[in-house]
Symmetry: C2
């Protein structure tokens, strides 16, 4: 007798991400039972052995693992595009908006909801959401059904930080302690929630924003909870200056000294890390999260991912945030990762499409500590899946031999709008290109109302920025 | 009495591209009469003075000029993604496919149709289509309703080009003459067709592929017909080697000598041009077409557009072709142009969003010689328009003050899938995201069938490529 499945996809091109490449299987089938993948194989074999409550004929479509956004601040969702094309986006534009946004937790929540919705529709199923207050933001992931590996931002900077540029930051240990405790509370309350869809990490904001003592407490807590540390590392010259002033060292040697360079660390950005530092960190087993779009737009820099790959494959991709990168779309990140690194190296052969696809799926899963659960199509793994319509004009035609063009087209041409169906934990979240059980228009309307409020309140503090090129851009009718 | 219009958009954010910036007008209205824009202004004023057969309420939407793809080989549409991530995409992968494709004019036509459809849905309204046989391809533009400025590829290389790598190409003057005559016939038969939607240029394929005599004939013909010359210039080191071997000069000094550096010239790529050569060419009034995505993927190079802009604003963008760039989407080109140039300069302030938007609209129109007709929303210009849904999650929320975020979001976040409606020459070609009067699925199906045929025929010649990394990539399961 045939075994019955909840859901069975048949006659798809499976991009399993098994093995060392992309593990493509033509005319494949995949069965889902509960929250997990039950079977993966040739359609003929699977159809001979299984029935299903729902059979999805997937000819002309690709079925692949959900994409992993390994670094995203969804709470910034409302501030998309308000501070662009500047030498110093934070000081010259973003700061007044950010300040007003953060006084309004409802606006943070609404922006986060919009940001997650945007990413989900473009195929992101797992979010390493690094924001605050995460105890509230995480409820958006519960509501939308997405998988999230979340951390609070832990910083020891005083609430009113009045340090002049170039001076050493003052720390407020009470503030640092409060934020660490909030992150620990998040772990207690939410780790393993929603059938394990929600897991928690610790989130020191940067080595320059926490004292050595606080960083050591975080390290001990991570060991005790057996979880990872999500942290910006070497993210800018301001950080490097602070580290030099305080410790006479650069960030990575300092982190090495305090025992941070272990597989628990997810080192985000490495914008200012040298190739040598990066290889050293990689060799110690730490992961790297590369935010190609964000760092290119904000800094005009391509981070040392190529150096990282010389020593490790624990490289994941992240969309960072809406102000700066503007979009949270892992197809966008894959494409930029490939192309920016080709131009950095002056070689079209580096960062091939198949390898970049791994960075958004199986390698990312391993880098964030979920390699056993997600990132590939394998029996026993969670059913986090995308069905992609290969008959959309930008992905057509499909050629299978003598060269298969599907993976290059997914990386270099797909925009995210070809994602027809999304499952997370075995549940259908997107079908026929629409998010299920959520009024998308309502999410957008609520975000717009909250943004109107925040923008209105930002008018005065924005006017107080002494010299922002944005003012001239508005006056000259460029924006 | 109010004047009656065919079509009136009201309460839109108009991105007029008038003036030196983007010329944004909040709560604007635009009226269309026949093929032309009749009125542009504040909604209140326009609604007080006009009625219309059709009134489109466009709150929450942006209305902007159609995008201009200033360099595209639509005939290559079927070969999307077959030759990627290689040091020599043509020799190591594309060549056998290209050869088989070009033996099958029906396949060229079907691929072109797919390529135009893809681009149109993403907001491209004008195509500088540079391909052969253009007398056939141009009929796709007629059928779809797009605006096209077309040229045949003129080359003097023999049909069977057997030159070894590094040797001087042999020319076949009869072949060159045949191709020039074909281009002239195209001009005779098609220039001004379809209410002026189709205009023609001359298309020498490269200074290395035509004799000096043929290039001079082309120059004279262009002057006689008062049209432009669409030409690859300094597109690779093979071209530079040929020019050195034949004339002892690099391409741009040679073109200067034969009188090509004039406003008639649309110089495509300039991949191998020095900054100094590029500024010189710009100073002579020639236009430049920058194919950011294509050249980054194929060569790992960011062409010298920044140097060009020091001397001229006649810079347009092009998507080039499906094998290589993989997609024909001017939103993609705008984004890559901004970001790659920021990374090249190491500065986030260069190539701001508003300027890149100009390169895909008004500056492009001027560079290709249609500045009086298209590229901005102004009374008297052709009604080539896009209506963009700003309530799509990736473009939300919309903020108008103290900083307007619409243009940055169009450049850094839009994917093309937000284009809700497209008009060309006053006619609605896309509505509610769907191409009107064309069965899109049928276009894709026909392209797929033709691609199956071409790929099948390419199996043997592909197997004969002595050493292509693609074979290993297929065998290792990477593709």
């Amino acid at each position: 007798m045939k075994k019955n499945l909840d859901l069975l996809f048949a006659h798809a091109t499976l991009i399993t991400m098994q093995g060392e490449g992309t593990g493509i299987l033509e005319d494949g089938a995949l069965g889902v039972c509960g929250s997990r993948i039950e079977v993966v194989g040739p359609s003929r074999e699977v159809l001979a052995a299984y029935t299903a409550d729902r059979l999805i004929e997937a000819e002309g479509k690709a079925l692949m693992p959900g994409l992993i956004d390994a670094h995203i601040h969804t709470g910034d969702g409302l501030l998309r595009g308000v501070s662009q094309d500047l030498d110093n986006w934070m000081q010259h534009g973003l700061w007044p908006f950010e300040q007003e946004l953060r006084k309004d937790p409802d606006a943070v929540r609404k922006g986060s909801m919009l940001n997650i919705l945007e990413a989900l529709k473009a195929g992101t199923t797992t979010f390493c959401d690094f924001d605050t207050p995460m105890t509230e933001i995480v409820q958006n992931h519960i509501r939308l059904g997405t998988r999230a590996r979340v951390a609070e931002l832990i910083s020891e900077l005083p609430k009113e930080n009045r340090t002049a540029l170039g001076e050493l930051y003052q720390f407020d240990p009470a503030e640092g302690d409060r934020k660490l405790r909030r992150n620990l509370r998040l772990c207690e309350e939410w780790n393993g929630a929603a059938n394990g869809r929600i897991t928690c990490m610790l989130g020191p904001q940067g080595a320059d924003m926490c004292s050595r003592e606080l960083l050591e407490e975080v390290r001990e807590a991570a060991a005790r909870l057996d979880t990872g540390i999500h942290m910006h590392v070497a993210q800018g010259d301001r950080e490097t200056n602070q580290m030099q002033l305080r410790y006479g060292k650069r960030t990575i040697p300092f982190l090495d000294e305090i025992g941070y360079l272990t597989p628990r660390l997810m080192a985000v950005h490495l914008t200012e890390a040298t190739d040598e530092e990066t290889r050293y960190l990689a060799g110690k087993g730490a992961g790297m999260v590369l935010c190609s779009g964000s760092i290119a737009i904000i800094d005009g820099i391509v981070p040392p991912a190529a150096a990282f790959l010389q020593a490790s494959s624990r490289l994941a991709l992240g969309s960072d945030q809406a102000p700066g990168n503007n979009c949270s779309n892992m197809f966008n990140e894959m494409k930029f990762t490939a192309i920016l690194n080709k131009c950095k190296a002056g070689s079209p052969a580096v960062f091939p499409a198949w390898r970049v696809l791994r960075m958004a799926t199986i390698e990312a899963a391993r880098a964030i500590g979920l390699g056993q659960q997600i990132g590939s199509l394998e029996p026993g793994k969670k059913a986090d899946l995308l069905l992609i319509d290969l008959t959309q004009p930008g992905l057509s035609p499909v050629i299978q031999a003598p060269v298969r063009n599907i993976v290059p087209n997914l990386v270099y041409s797909a925009r995210g709008s070809e994602v027809e169906m999304v499952l997370v934990d075995g549940k259908v979240l997107v079908e026929d290109f629409r998010v299920q059980g959520i009024d998308e228009k309502q999410v957008v309307r609520e975000a717009q109302l909250a943004a109107d409020r925040v923008a209105q309140r930002a008018v005065q503090p924005f006017a107080a920025i002494p010299a922002t090129p944005l003012r001239g851009m508005m006056q000259r009718g460029e924006l």
